[in-house]
């Protein structure tokens, strides 16, 4: 197996053993980018090769001096392009921010710099993280490495596709309603959305502030634990940041005997045949490992998705108001200030972003606030209560990640809400602020990966990691790699 296809934990061990160098890893990742960038895509900005190699060189010097900083020291990674990187343009895949070069770093990026990670580039995404197929990018394109005619999922499509195709060893994405888990599921990798407040949001360009959470996309749950250890940290620049002590990688274990898994059968029933079969098989696997299945009924699911769209659109309409061409970004001049605002925003935002802004403006506008926004907050409180009750009965909740596997790119949806309906399993974790993972659990008949979602109680990241770890010890779905164009060989596992 090529270095670029190996999981982080393996590469890290090899670096410690000095059997490879960080430069060799970086070189192989760069080579893969050259091979995959035209077909899979996934990046908006790729750093200069010289810069990347210098960064790897520094790791090699540290290793030689016996001072490797962390398990990700020397590991090439990608950042979703909504995380501010000082001196490196940060676009949110929007025409409006095409030329925006932050003068400050997102706290998560600071953490990865301090840990010695090697930033390769800024990953493609749906514009302002709005979308579930990565087809709303104004600046780049991303396709599914398993079949480049198909979508990678979104909104962290670039973060997902680059990892799945070996263009990065791991990446950070952000998840507002499933934007890490959905593309992870479509691309056959592991995606993890931590508990709201676990990972600092400072410097991460907001979509919906009360739902957004940054998390890792990796090839193995062990990698996830390693990355989480570096980014789950209290930040005094983020009022919604929590103080949590973590040691996920160290505490990882596969003893999940007696764990109670909550399953709402109706959610499994709602999926396509292949997904349903894979998820049912996974449930059996967990039973074999000594877990108990607890029946749950999430009869609030439809309310939940509606509440999600109201809250996320409302917050987005306000968060995106600052993109007005006054102090940064692209300006489209008009006759006066008001015309300039209108010209800039009408030109700069894509249709999906405009829809959400309009929807958000509507639910907050006078006369509708109580009926929509306030009601959504009430429902949100109710859903949180229901989850609290569910976690009395079980240790985690299992469901499919998506209703169906990755679909053909360019498919036109009749109604925008059809897209919303397709990702109905993921927003509940955001609405209730809970940690959730998507892990590979099989392949559809057409060869596309299927994802399994695990949701845990607040701050119970370790439980989810252990569940996924135990599962990955028993299965090999996460070990499969897509065949990359330009390669003659089928990767051995």
């Amino acid at each position: 197996m090529r270095l670029c296809d190996m999981p982080l934990y393996q590469l890290s061990a090899m670096l410690d053993e000095k059997s490879i160098s960080a430069k060799e890893i970086a070189q192989d990742v760069m080579k893969r980018i050259g091979e995959a960038n035209a077909t899979v895509g996934g990046y908006i900005t790729i750093l200069d090769e010289k810069e990347i190699m210098e960064s790897a060189q520094k790791t090699d010097e540290r290793i030689a001096a016996g001072a490797r900083r962390s398990k990700i020291d020397g590991i090439p990674y990608a950042l979703k392009d909504n995380m501010c990187t000082k001196g490196i343009r940060t676009t949110c895949s929007s025409k409006l921010l095409e030329n925006f070069v932050p003068v400050y770093n997102a706290t998560v990026y600071e953490h990865l710099i301090n840990a010695g990670g090697v930033l390769v580039g800024k990953a493609d995404m749906d514009e302002f993280a709005m979308g579930s197929a990565n087809e709303n990018s104004a600046l780049s394109f991303t396709r599914n490495p398993w079949d480049t005619k198909k979508v990678a999922g979104g909104s962290s499509g670039g973060s997902s596709a680059t990892v799945a195709s070996g263009q990065a060893v791991f990446s950070l994405g952000s998840d507002t309603g499933g934007s890490i888990r959905l593309p992870a599921s479509f691309c056959g990798i592991t995606g993890f959305k931590p508990t709201y407040s676990a990972v600092p949001r400072y410097g991460v360009i907001a979509f919906a502030s009360s739902l957004d959470q940054v998390g890792p996309l990796t090839k193995d749950i062990r990698d996830t634990a390693i990355v989480l250890d570096e980014i789950v940290k209290y930040d005094d620049k983020d009022s919604t940041s929590a103080k949590i002590a973590t040691n996920y990688a160290q505490n990882l274990n596969n003893n999940i005997k007696g764990m109670r898994i909550g399953v709402d059968a109706s959610l499994v029933e709602a999926t396509d045949e292949d997904t349903k079969a894979a998820v049912l098989t996974a449930i059996e696997k967990f039973k074999e490992m000594g877990c108990k299945i607890v029946d749950l009924s999430f009869n609030h699911n439809e309310i939940m998705v509606a509440a999600y769209y109201i809250i996320s659109s409302a917050e987005a309409s306000s968060n995106l108001a600052r993109f007005d061409g006054m102090t940064y970004g692209v300006r489209r001049e008009g006759e006066n200030v008001i015309d300039t605002y209108v010209n800039t925003r009408s030109w700069g935002f894509g249709p999906e972003v405009k829809r959400r802004i309009m929807m958000g403006t509507f639910v907050l506008s006078s006369g509708y606030y109580d009926a929509y926004y306030k009601k959504a907050l009430q429902d949100r409180t109710l859903i949180k209560h229901n989850f609290d009750a569910a976690f009395e009965l079980c240790d985690c909740v299992l469901s499919p990640t998506t209703i169906f596997t990755a679909y053909d790119a360019g498919k036109k949806l009749e109604h925008p809400t059809d897209a919303y309906m397709s990702d109905v399993f993921t927003p509940m974790a955001n609405i209730a602020g809970l940690p959730a993972a998507s892990i590979p659990c099989g392949f559809a008949k057409n060869g596309m990966p299927i994802g399994l979602q695990l949701i845990g109680n607040s701050y119970q990241e370790q439980t989810l990691l252990n569940m996924a770890y135990a599962y990955q010890q028993e299965t090999d779905f996460h070990l499969q790699r897509p065949k990359m164009t330009g390669e003659g060989e089928k990767d051995e596992v």
Binding site: V103, S210, T240, I310, G325, R355, M358, Q378, K384
Partner: protein
């Protein structure tokens, strides 16, 4: 819930967006769809008090300590237009 094209125009004005007639019709249709979907929130007879935050946190403060600001160059680095040490914006009428 009915949304008229005037409603769409009013929302567009508040959002500082402009649409041509065709786009307005499209947006009107989209909004009707979305609002119909959003109406599901009213499906529950939930009289639970709406909490602004699901986080059990409160009183997050910073101490009143001055920290380093950006330099003027950094502040203006991304400005579409600047003059001297100022951001420059299109003429705003003081008394319009």
């Amino acid at each position: 819930m009915q949304i008229s094209s005037d409603d769409v125009k009013r929302l567009a004005e508040l959002s500082r967006l402009a649409f041509n007639e065709e786009e307005i019709a499209q947006m009107q249709e989209n909004l009707v769809d979305m609002i119909q979907y959003a109406d599901r929130v009213n499906a529950t007879a939930c009289d639970m008090q709406a909490k602004e935050h699901i986080l059990p946190l409160h009183n997050v403060f910073r101490e009143d300590v001055v920290q380093e600001s950006l330099s003027n160059d950094e502040a203006l680095k991304n400005a579409p237009e600047s003059e001297e040490m100022y951001f420059k914006v299109p003429q705003v009428m003081e008394d319009e």
